[in-house]
């Protein structure tokens, strides 16, 4: 696999110096990372960067971008990013959000669906699942949670590249920063907004693709089905024998689904 082509740039959003990883060519694609931070350069990003300029902001408080103490919930964070994309003249921008990043995208779309061109939610938190519960990352170690995200953490080369081997002090620190900021904005109710199922009525008309691992152990598929049901006109694609990280666990199918939706 090729080396990452992403370059780090700093943008000012209000008082905050936002760090953004950028790379690729073509129309911008906003990538919102999940609760454990930006995991690293993956096959799907390499594929997408041939057609799209990836904008991957590193959320405030997740290590590189400083914490903004006024951001106390995911809706606040959404307002922060609305300002960012408006000031960078990116709107309407296509967006893809993973897990907590999917929740963030959904909040932003519910507040103002016009700021997005197309939206992709991957194993998004944000809704209380009608059946099952969102796995609690705060009662296990960071390592335990990351390993539990995928169905097989031992025999997946993409996963091993990102998370394999002994935990380094840098990784420990980065994960603890990610956990701390996620706690600040998503402690209770855990990983969802009470009113989300009602708010999603405002997303109607926004082309939306919902991607889910059928056996997702973190956010049950029932939540994906509810997103699909509540966002009128959305499309749900599921991956069999796949957990919470389809981009890592089913890269070829994942790339195909994303590309055909965005093209």
């Amino acid at each position: 696999m090729a080396e990452s082509i992403l370059k780090e740039e700093t943008f000012r959003v209000g008082e905050t110096e936002l760090r953004v990883l950028k790379g690729g060519q073509g129309k911008p694609l906003l990538v919102l990372h999940g609760e454990m931070g930006f995991p690293g350069w993956l096959q799907w990003e390499e594929a997408m960067a041939k057609k799209r300029t990836l904008w991957i902001p590193l959320h405030p408080g997740f290590g590189k971008t400083p914490m903004a103490s006024w951001i106390m919930n995911v809706r606040d964070l959404g307002a922060f990013y609305s300002r960012f994309i408006r000031e960078q003249k990116l709107t309407p921008v296509d967006v893809i959000g993973f897990s907590l990043g999917g929740w963030l995208a959904a909040e932003m779309a519910a507040a103002n669906s016009g700021q997005f061109g197309k939206m992709i939610l991957v194993g998004a938190t944000g809704l209380r699942p009608p059946t099952g519960e969102i796995m609690d990352m705060f009662t296990v170690t960071a390592r335990g949670y990351v390993n539990a995200n995928v169905l097989d953490s031992q025999h997946n080369p993409e996963f091993a590249k990102l998370f394999g081997g002994e935990q380094t002090p840098e990784q420990y620190e980065a994960w603890e920063e990610a956990r701390a900021e996620t706690a600040r904005i998503a402690w209770a109710p855990y990983m969802y907004t009470q009113s989300m199922s009602e708010l999603l009525a405002n997303v109607a008309g926004l082309p939306t693709l919902i991607l889910w691992g059928k056996q997702d152990p973190v956010v049950p598929l029932s939540a994906g089905e509810m997103y699909h049901q509540k966002i009128v006109g959305s499309k749900l694609v599921t991956f069999d024998n796949c957990g919470h990280m389809p981009a890592v666990e089913k890269p070829a199918e994942f790339i195909k689904a994303v590309e055909s939706f965005l093209d």
Partner: protein, 437 residues
Amino acid sequence: MHIMFFTERAYHAVPEDEVFKRRSFFGVPNKFFDAPTGARLLNEYIDEKIYCDELGFDGLMLNEHHGTPFCMGAVMDVEAAVLARATKRAKIVLLGNPIPTVSNPLRMAEELAMIDMISGGRLVPGWVRGAGSEQLANNANPAYNREYFDEAHDLILAAWTKPGPFRWEGKHFHYRFVNPWVLPLQKPHPPIWIPGLISPETVKWCAQHRYPYVALATLLGPTLEMFNMYAKIAGDLGYQAGPENFGYLQPVFCADTEEKAEEMGKNFLFGGGFAHFARPEWMFPPGYNSKEATRRLAAQAANPNLPGQITGIMDHDPVDDADLQKLKKQLYDTYPQWLKQSQMITGTPKTIVPKLRHVLEVLRPGIFSFWLDGPSPLKDRRRCVELLGKEVVPALRDIGKELGLEDPFTRTPGSVKVSGKAEPVGRPELIGEAMSA
């Protein structure tokens, strides 16, 4: 010198292997809790405190933990209220109320005011951030732990001292009507002491507020380093820290024979003792640690309750019963190390007093608390308390006088002014001697 008695009010009827299996007291399922046994134990612990009052201890120290057989005092203020009426003389010292886990600090101000009134002004409240596991047990967001702590502290003091009614619009707490019709008897408010496990942030905060800092059975060397950090900050603020600013809690097991005392001391390691207070993922919930503390932890896997020792013995969950028994034996085999490092003192009154003298000479605390725990029979506990009260406490009082160990009631913390450089506290050069005592 202010001399106190402390116990965790443990539920020792829990099967020990259930703790070892999980390497944690926190999280042991409460199906093992038998209410009649718990009721008997709680009353025994209360009776023990009343006995301490009769024996002449100066202070009865309580603490609070949640969701663990390690400590049944889940609502310490309830016990304190009982003691307020049932005891006559001793201070009721709460070290401490975990204010970040309390969603209504105004109610806590009212509870404590009532305890102070009922006790005739014998309350010494203290505050803690709460162990990591307390945040989970109370669903208190650990990422805001410091902010909750600071704001709840300020709110409680305001409720006690600022004429009401007034409004409180903070970041985390909001009240349209603060006007409690119960106020502490002690004015302007009861003296506040803070316990800790030598976190530099807490030590600094105590020095700034001139609150006595009580080190909870931490190793002598690091404890003295923290006392001196306190003293340095105090000097910068224009006061000389002295014994009245410091306290120390120490496990002490006293019996009629050395053998019996040793046996009781070893019981302190029941279930792994502090080493198994809670698992790391529960000790360090997200955002609970400061950035600096996280950085220190990243560099070395550490157990906050056992600074610099007994880590790594049980680095994995037991795979089977043989493994469990092996790990258990390894943990109990650390017992001599505890004694050697003065982490625990055992003996008869005659042999205990010189050992305690060394600790007092090294740390020079104005507050000292005995700590008795472990599943020892009630009659052995009773005898221990009796020997401490009748023979050891009087001896410690004499040593305290000889060493000039003023306490917060004989000299107000922060009242000794200095201009220029403050003097260091304690006698670090004696630590080696204390260890081999």
